[in-house]
């Protein structure tokens, strides 16, 4: 503690003998990390650039040239003419509906499994955990036929039901640890006060879990927003398509207009990027907690 220089030097040395070699090693580590960061961001920066150019600028100028007069009209054009506004609204409401349902239903069952006493609770928990290993593709054909029979093909309800079911296990998994850790006194006090289970759950337990609920909600939002195969299989009319499939169809029709394609892609990823900007800690926490879903 006597010398101000000694401690950072030792930190950098990382076990190697001399301070100078340690410093160079430390700098090398930084260069590696920065290089990885550049690789991760570079394609997205390029996407932003060409979303603001017209074809002539994309083809004739160097790929990394800044869009000198940014063509924001690309965004306006695809928003209304490309049906992107409809897809966007569908993505928003389907994502919110499925997320809200998942979080509430998962909370109910997690409460019953962790806090209430009944036979078969560990078996039911096992069912949810095993469901995580099942590939969605292996359920696709029967789901299609079931929804077809129930007249739910080309109906957003089919999407919401599948999203809720397939995100249920991961949501329960993130909630579990939190529910196990709730102090026993919570129930004891409320039972003594003559509180019903419903009241206890909705008035006391649910508010206590609000922070982990926010984490599960944001993870659900990301998965639902990005879902592709169910929309692609169950939904055929434009009025119900979400952004993933809508973007895919739009780009299929306008393969040559790079600015329009870039703008469409930017619109589809922007909400997630914005959410990440403000909620990155929660997202990191949620992904680490629910790392079973790859």
């Amino acid at each position: 503690m006597t010398s101000g220089i000694a401690s950072p030097m030792r930190k950098g040395a990382e076990g190697s003998g001399s301070g100078m070699a340690g410093k160079i090693g430390y700098a090398l580590l930084y260069i590696v990390l920065i290089a990885v960061a550049v690789l991760q961001l570079f394609p997205l920066v390029w996407l932003l650039f060409f979303s603001l150019k017209n074809n002539q600028e994309v083809f004739d100028l160097p790929p990394l040239s800044l869009p000198m007069n940014p063509r924001w009209e690309n965004y306006g054009k695809v928003w209304s003419a490309g049906n992107i506004d409809v897809y966007f609204v569908n993505s928003v409401w389907i994502t919110i509906a499925a997320t809200a349902l998942t979080v509430i239903i998962a909370s109910l069952v997690t409460f019953a499994i962790t806090r209430m006493k009944w036979k078969g609770s560990s078996f039911v928990l096992g069912l949810f955990m095993v469901a995580m290993m099942i590939p969605v593709h292996s359920t696709l054909i029967p789901l299609f036929s079931m929804f077809n029979k129930a007249n739910l093909i080309d109906n957003p309800i089919s999407l919401i039901l599948t999203y809720v079911a397939f995100n249920m296990p991961i949501t329960i998994m993130i909630l579990l640890g939190f529910y196990y850790a709730l102090p026993k006194e919570v129930e004891e006090a409320s039972v003594i006060d003559g509180c019903s289970v419903n009241r206890m759950f909705f008035r006391i337990v649910l508010p206590m879990t609000s922070s982990v609920l926010a984490t599960t909600a944001i993870i659900n939002i990301i998965y639902n927003w990005n879902e592709f195969i169910f929309v692609n299989t169950f939904i055929s009319s434009d009025e119900f398509k979400t952004l993933t499939v809508g973007v895919q169809n739009f780009i299929g029709q306008y393969t040559t207009d790079w600015g329009a394609i870039g703008a469409t892609l930017m619109i589809s990823i922007l909400p997630i990027l914005l959410a990440f900007l403000f909620l990155s800690d929660r997202i990191v926490e949620g992904i680490a907690a629910g790392s079973v879903k790859g």
Binding site: K11, G15, S16, L29, Y30, V32, L33, V36, A37, Q40, L41, P43, P63, I105, V109, A112, M116, L127, F128, A131, M133, I134, P135, V136, H137, S138, T139, L140, I141, P142, F144, S145, M146, A165, F166, M168, E187, V191, W225, N226, E227, F228, I229, T233, V247, Q248, I251, W258, S268, I269, I272, L273, F276, S280, I283, V284, I287, A288, S291, G294
Partner: protein
């Protein structure tokens, strides 16, 4: 207290919505996939039971085994890429300032939809206007390949965006595991004269082993079911050179309207995933697990 907390009506009310949903949307379809695999069915009429004909045909179907081989190759690549991710996480966990910011930046691609990533990388690989070939030409490579149109290159070209997409995810998991290792162990090893490499190899790696095993299962099983990215970028082409199990199933069912055969492929996919999970767990099982402290 116990009486209140074991009220059967309440328990049923709380459990049934989730339970019925998971049974109806996950478990019943899985059983039906097994059954439909035994039928001839175009998806519209009623399925005709034909016994194991689909599976017999599947065993002789070179297109299917090609797709299974491609899935296995991707699984192998993904497994190997974990070494790279682990190395980066080790660097990140070695008292780096701004480590938190780095791991957040790395995570960004993982949050985006596979469709958006696929469309973006289609532009990156574009033969004439894509940034990859523009850069290659500018540093003197004439006639760079059309990456996604070359049967020999396409699978590798598809793996790059996958590598890019999942990097942040695995680095995040490894970073958390490495940060969990008590600093006292590292200090003790340093006092005993161990260098950074020895500490990484002899102390950090064994202590992170449990997490590494989980990630191997995740990476391998995850790649066995790759679909979105490949479906959008190449749709299995050129000429089946990038067909994987899930995309083969999808095209058999929803393009050729052979739902019975598609179901057989879907059932195989499920079996592959379960067997892979079991096999990796078995191969990586250790008798004594190491305690942290």
């Amino acid at each position: 207290m116990n009486k209140v907390m074991s009220n059967k009506k309440i328990i049923a009310l709380y459990v049934l919505p989730a339970l019925l949903l998971i049974l109806a949307v996950v478990y019943i379809p899985i059983i039906l996939t097994g059954y439909y695999g035994l039928t001839k069915w175009n998806g519209i009429g009623s399925p005709d039971y034909i016994g194991f004909d689909n599976y017999a045909a599947l065993l002789k179907d070179t297109a299917f085994w090609n797709s299974a081989w491609h899935s296995l190759l991707l699984a192998l690549f993904s497994g190997l890429s974990l070494i790279l991710y682990l190395a980066i996480a080790m660097v990140l966990a070695s008292k780096i300032k701004g480590a938190n910011l780095f791991r957040k930046i790395y995570l960004i691609p993982m949050l985006l939809s596979s469709v958006a990533i696929a469309q973006l990388w289609l532009r990156i690989y574009h033969p004439t206007n894509g940034i990859l070939n523009s850069l290659l030409e500018s540093i003197g490579f004439d006639n760079p390949p059309a990456w996604l149109a070359e049967p020999k290159l396409v699978l590798f070209a598809l793996f790059i965006p996958i590598l890019w997409q999942y990097a942040g995810f695995y680095i995040l998991i490894y970073y958390a595991a490495l940060k969990n290792i008590p600093a006292s162990l590292e200090e003790a090893a340093k006092i005993d004269g161990a260098n950074a490499l020895q500490i990484a190899w002899k102390i950090k790696l064994p202590l992170a082993m449990e997490v590494i095993k989980v990630t191997i299962v995740l990476a391998v099983v995850g790649s066995l079911k790759y679909f979105d990215l490949i479906y959008v970028m190449t749709n299995g082409g050129p000429n089946g050179a990038s067909e994987v199990m899930a995309s083969y199933m999808y095209s058999e069912a929803f393009k050729s309207y052979d739902f019975g055969y598609g179901s057989a492929v879907g059932f195989f996919l499920l079996v592959f995933c379960l067997v892979a999970t079991w096999l990796i767990r078995k191969l990586t099982a250790t008798k004594d697990t190491i305690q942290y402290s």
